[in-house]
C-alpha cells in the first residue's frame, strides 16, 4: 500500500513537472522610475505591461516601481533572480545601469526606453510625441486670442525641447504672430510647481496651454480660468471636458507586444539586438493625438477650429480643423508624407538648422538643443 501511494505521488509530481515544462512561460520584468499611480509616464508603461500580458500568450510580468535612476542594477538582479528573461527599463537615467547589467547577464534580453546605447542583448525603444505636439500646436495657434501660447516644461533636455519645438512650429504654421512662452519646473512630476508655473503664465496673458508634467494640473488650472489646454500622456479630457482641446496619448503596448512576440517567436535573441531601435510614432500607432482615446479633437472645440482658415503651400486654403486632419493622415500613412521637422527651418536666432528639403534624422532629433522661432523664455544650453 505504501509503495502504491509513493508511486502515485511520484507519477503526480512527474506529470506536473512535465506539464510545467510544456507550458514554459516567458517572464518579463519592468523597472519603473515613478509610481504606477502617477497618471503619467509610469502609469502609461504599466497600462502597456498589462495589455501585453493579455495579448502575448504565456507571458508573465513582474515590475518594480519608484526605482531611483542610479539604482537600476540591484533591481535588475532581483527581477532576474525571480526568473525574468526579458528586462524593460523605462527611464533615460537607467541607461548605463541597463548596459552594465546586459554585459553581466549575456543570457537575458534587455530593452531600454528613450536611450541610445545598445548591445547584442540590449535594444532601445521610444514612442515619441513630436508629431502629435505639432498637431496640437496647429490647434493652439488657431485658438489663442492674445497670441500668447504657454508651455510648462519639465526639464530643458532634448526630448522636451523637441516637443516644444514641434509645438511652436505648429503654432506658427497657422499663426505667424503668436509666441510660445515657456516655463521650466525641473521635475517630471510636481503638481505644485506645474500649478504655479501655469499661474505665472496666466498672469502674463497666456491663454492656451500645453505642457510636459505627469499630472493633470495644468489642464485643471487653465480650465478654472476658462482657458483651453492640451492634455499630456494620459487621457485627461475628463478633468476638464469643456477646456481640453486635444492632447498626446501613448500606446506603449504596441511596442511591448511587438517586442515580446518576437522574443517568443525566437526572432529576437540575446545576440541580434545591437541595431534594434524602436522609434515609433503616429505611423506605427504607438502615439495618438487627443485628450481621450479615439477623440483627436474635442467636440467642444471642433467648430471653433473649423471657423479659422489658413493658407498652406501644399494644401491650399482650408480650415485649421481640416489641416490637422490632413496632417494627421499624412503622418499616419506608412509612407509618412509629412514631417514637422522638414527644412528649411531656422532657429529663433535666425540660424539655418534644417536645410531645405531635408528631414531631421532620429539622431538629430535626439540631440536637438535649438529653440524654434516664436519660443519666448529661458532655453538652457541654447546653441
Amino acid at each position: 500500500m505504501r509503495w502504491l501511494t509513493l508511486a502515485a505521488v511520484l507519477i503526480l509530481v512527474g506529470s506536473l513537472a512535465v506539464t510545467g515544462g510544456a507550458q514554459q512561460k516567458l517572464k518579463a520584468g519592468f523597472i519603473y522610475v515613478g509610481p504606477i499611480g502617477d497618471y503619467g509616464w509610469t502609469h502609461a508603461h504599466d497600462q502597456g505591461r498589462k495589455i501585453a500580458e493579455k495579448m502575448v500568450s504565456g507571458l508573465e510580468t513582474l515590475y518594480v516601481e519608484s526605482v531611483p535612476e542610479a539604482q537600476a542594477e540591484p533591481f535588475i538582479d532581483k527581477l532576474i533572480q525571480q526568473g525574468a528573461r526579458v528586462i524593460f527599463t523605462t527611464s533615460f537615467g537607467f541607461m548605463d545601469g541597463t548596459l552594465a547589467a546586459a554585459k553581466r547577464y549575456p543570457n537575458q534580453i534587455f530593452a531600454h526606453a528613450s536611450g541610445f546605447k545598445r548591445a547584442p542583448n540590449m535594444a532601445t525603444y521610444m514612442a515619441d510625441f513630436y508629431q502629435v505636439y505639432y498637431l496640437n500646436g496647429l490647434m493652439a495657434g488657431a485658438l489663442t486670442k492674445s497670441n500668447k501660447v504657454g508651455y510648462v516644461g519639465a526639464f530643458p533636455i532634448p526630448e522636451v525641447k523637441r516637443h516644444i519645438g514641434a509645438f511652436a512650429l505648429g503654432v506658427r504654421a497657422v499663426n505667424p504672430r503668436a509666441t510660445v512662452h515657456v516655463r521650466w519646473i525641473f521635475e517630471w512630476f510636481k503638481p505644485s510647481a506645474a500649478k504655479e508655473a501655469t499661474e505665472a503664465l496666466i498672469a502674463e496673458g497666456v491663454d492656451v496651454f500645453a505642457f510636459t508634467e505627469d499630472s493633470p494640473t495644468v489642464v485643471q488650472v487653465a480650465a478654472k480660468r476658462g482657458l483651453p489646454s492640451f492634455s499630456h500622456y494620459s487621457p485627461m479630457q475628463k478633468f476638464a471636458p469643456n477646456h481640453v482641446v486635444s492632447g498626446q496619448l501613448v500606446h506603449w503596448e504596441k511596442i511591448y507586444v511587438d517586442f515580446l512576440s518576437k522574443v517568443v517567436a525566437g526572432k529576437y535573441t540575446t545576440e541580434n539586438l545591437q541595431n534594434v531601435d524602436y522609434w515609433w510614432l503616429l505611423a506605427e500607432g504607438a502615439v495618438e493625438v487627443g485628450g481621450d482615446f479615439g477623440v483627436p479633437v474635442s467636440p467642444a472645440w471642433k467648430s471653433k477650429l473649423q471657423a479659422v482658415q489658413v493658407t498652406t503651400l501644399d494644401l491650399g486654403r482650408l480650415s485649421v480643423h481640416d489641416l490637422v486632419m490632413k496632417r494627421l493622415a499624412q503622418m499616419t500613412d506608412p509612407k509618412v508624407t509629412f514631417d514637422p521637422f522638414t527644412g528649411p527651418i531656422r532657429d529663433r536666432k535666425g540660424k539655418l538648422v534644417v536645410p531645405a528639403g531635408k528631414r531631421m534624422t532620429v539622431g538629430e532629433l535626439n540631440t536637438m538643443e535649438w529653440a524654434a522661432p516664436g519660443i519666448v523664455g529661458p532655453w538652457p544650453k541654447e546653441p
Partner: protein, 287 residues
Amino acid sequence: MITEWILDTLIRALAVGTPLLWAALGEIYAERSGVINLGVEGMMILGAFFAFAVAHTSGNPALGLLVAGVVGGASALLHAFLSVTLRANQYVSGLALAMFGLGLAGVLGRGWEGIPLLNTLPEISGLTYLGVVLAVVLWFVLYHTRLGLVIRSTGEAPAAADALGVNVARVRYLAVVFGGILAGIAGGFFSVAYRPSWTEGMTGGTGWIAIAIVIFAGWDPLRAVWGALLFGALYYLSFRLQTWIAPEALRMLPFAFTIVALAATSRRRRGEGAPEALGLPYASGEK
C-alpha cells in the same frame, strides 16, 4: 502693473501658503510639548488620499477634510505611542511615519488616480482665513494661558512640569495628535482644493518645508504665518521671474530662503530657541 504683480503674488502666496501654515502650526504644538514629528509628509499624504476618497464618494469636500483630520490625528497617535509610551527615538519614529504614510497612501490610492473630483473647495477658502485665525488663537493660547504654559513647560523642562503635577505623557500625546489633525487637513487641502484629484506623492515634499518653517518661525505660531506666506510668494515668483532670471538660479530661491532663515534664527534671543527637551523621551522619576 505693479499692483497687479503684488495682487497676483499675494493670491499665490495665500494658496501655496495655506497647507504649509496648517502643517506648521500643528508641528509647532507637537514640538513645543517636546516631541519632534518628522512624519508630517506622511500624515499629509494620508490626509490627501482620504480627503479625496471621501470627497469623491460623498460629494462633500468639507467632509473629506474632516476625515483627513481624523486620519492625520490617528497616524500621529502612532508616533505618540512610539515616542512617548515606548520612548523610541523620535527622529527614527517620525521618519518611519513619513515613509509609512507615503507607502500606505500609495497602496490605498491604486486605481484612484485619474478620477476628476466634481465638488471641490475654492483654493482661497475658509481654510486660508481660518489658518490665520488659528495662528492667532494658538499664539494666544501658547503665551497667555495656563494651557500654553503647561505645553511649553513639558517641552522645556518636563521633570519640573512633572513635579508640579503635570501629566507630561498626556500633554505630549494630545499635542502630537493635534499636530497630526492639522497635518491631515493640510494634506486634504491639496486633493480637494489646490489640485482636486488624487496622485501618488502629490503633497510633493510640502511636509518637509513645513518643518523648516517651524524652525524659521522660532516655534512661534504668528511668525509661521509670515514664513508660510513668504515661501508661497517666493515659490510663485520663482516661475514668474523666469523671463528675466535664469531658471536654474530661481529654482533655489524658496529653498535658499529657508537656509538663510535658518542661519538668521540661529542668532536668536533667549527663550526663542528650540524647546530644551525637544526630541528627548521623558520618563517620570528619572533624572
